[in-house]
Symmetry: C2
Subunit: 192 residues, 2 copies
C-alpha cells in the first residue's frame, strides 16, 4: 500500500501549463490526492499560453482546512506575480513550511517562496533572473534543487524532472522510479 | 517573421494530460495557431488522471473547415480507444496525410494512425503493446520517431521531446532550439 499523500496546488491566471500539468499528472500517478485550487474566485483558470484548466475548488472552499502534506506552486510570469502579491499564498506556504510540510515551486514561482522568507540560506533554483536577491540563498541554477522540505525547479523544460523529484520526496525513489518507467521517461530512472 | 502554422488537436475524454498540454504549450510558444477540438460534444474534457481542460471548439464547429498544417492526437488509453473507433478521426487523419500535412500521435494514439493505414512500412514508435501489429511498420521503440510527414512518440515521459521534435518539423531546428533554451530544457537543444 502506498502512503496517502495530499498535495495542494495554488493557482492564479497566467500559470505555465506544462509546469502545472506535468507535476500534477505524476503526483496523481503516484497516488497523491491533488487539489488544484483557484485563487481567482473562478473555477476555470487561463494559462500563460491560452490553455484553460478547471480547478478542483476555490480557495474560499478550503481556507479553513489546513491538512496537506505539500504545497505546490506552478510558474508562469503572471501567475507567479499574482501568487507573490497574494498574502493568502505567502502566509499559507510559510505556515506549511513551519509545520515541516513539503513546499514546491518551479520557474518564476520560487520568488513566492523567497518573498515568504523560505529560501534564505537554502539551496534553490528558479528561472533565470526571477529572484529579487539570488545572493540571499545558495543559488544552484540546476534543473531541480531539493533542500530540506523545499524543492525548486528551473522551467517548463524541467517539469518532468521536477515532478519526478517531488514524487521521490513524498513517496520515495521506488515510486518515482516506477513512474519514470511507466511513462517511458527516457533519461534514466534516478533523476537527481 | 516566423511561419504561421495551424495545428488541430483532436481529443476525447481520458486523454493523457501531459501528452496533450506539453506539446500544445511548445507549439504555442513556437507561434502555432493551435485548436484543441473536443470530439465529445462538450467543451470541458476530462483527462485520464482527472485533470479537466477546456477545448477551444467542438468538432461540430470545425467539421467543414479543413485548413490545417498538422493534426495531433494525444494519448491516454480511453482517449486513444475513442479516437480509434471514431471514423471522423480516422478519416480526418487519413485525408490530411494524403494532402501531405503533418500527422502526430503519442503513446497509445499511434494506434489511431495504424488503423487509418498510415503506419504501414513506416518507422514508428508507440507505448509498448499499443499497436495491433507492430510488424506491419518498422517499429523503433524510440522516445520519438519521425518518418516523412508522420511523427510518433512513446509516452508521457517523452512529451517534451515529442513536442520539441514536432516544433522542429513544423518550424525548423532554429525555433525548436530557441524553445528548448527558453524553457530550460536540460537535455540539449538538438533532441533528435
Amino acid at each position: 500500500m502506498e502512503k496517502k499523500v495530499s498535495v495542494t496546488v495554488l493557482i492564479h491566471d497566467g500559470f505555465e501549463e506544462t509546469e502545472l500539468v506535468a507535476p500534477v499528472d505524476l503526483l496523481k500517478r503516484a497516488g497523491a490526492e491533488v487539489r488544484m485550487i483557484s485563487m481567482t474566485g473562478e473555477r476555470v483558470l487561463i494559462g500563460a499560453h491560452g490553455i484553460s484548466v478547471v480547478a478542483d475548488a476555490l480557495w474560499e472552499d478550503i481556507a479553513c482546512e489546513s491538512d496537506t502534506d505539500c504545497v505546490f506552486l506552478p510558474g508562469g510570469g503572471p501567475n507567479s506575480r499574482s501568487l507573490r502579491e497574494d498574502p493568502r499564498v505567502t502566509g499559507f506556504v510559510r505556515r506549511k513550511s513551519d509545520e515541516g510540510k513539503t513546499v514546491a515551486a518551479i520557474c518564476a514561482a520560487p520568488s513566492v517562496l523567497e518573498k515568504a522568507g523560505l529560501l534564505k540560506g537554502r539551496r534553490a533554483t528558479s528561472y533565470p533572473g526571477c529572484l529579487a536577491d539570488e545572493s540571499a540563498c545558495i543559488y544552484t541554477a540546476e534543473p531541480v534543487t531539493a533542500d530540506g522540505n523545499v524543492i525548486t525547479g528551473r522551467g517548463a523544460g524541467c517539469a518532468l524532472e521536477f515532478g519526478l523529484e517531488l514524487v521521490k520526496m513524498l513517496f520515495g525513489s521506488g515510486v518515482s522510479g516506477r513512474i519514470a518507467a511507466e511513462t517511458m521517461y527516457p533519461h534514466g530512472g534516478d533523476i537527481s
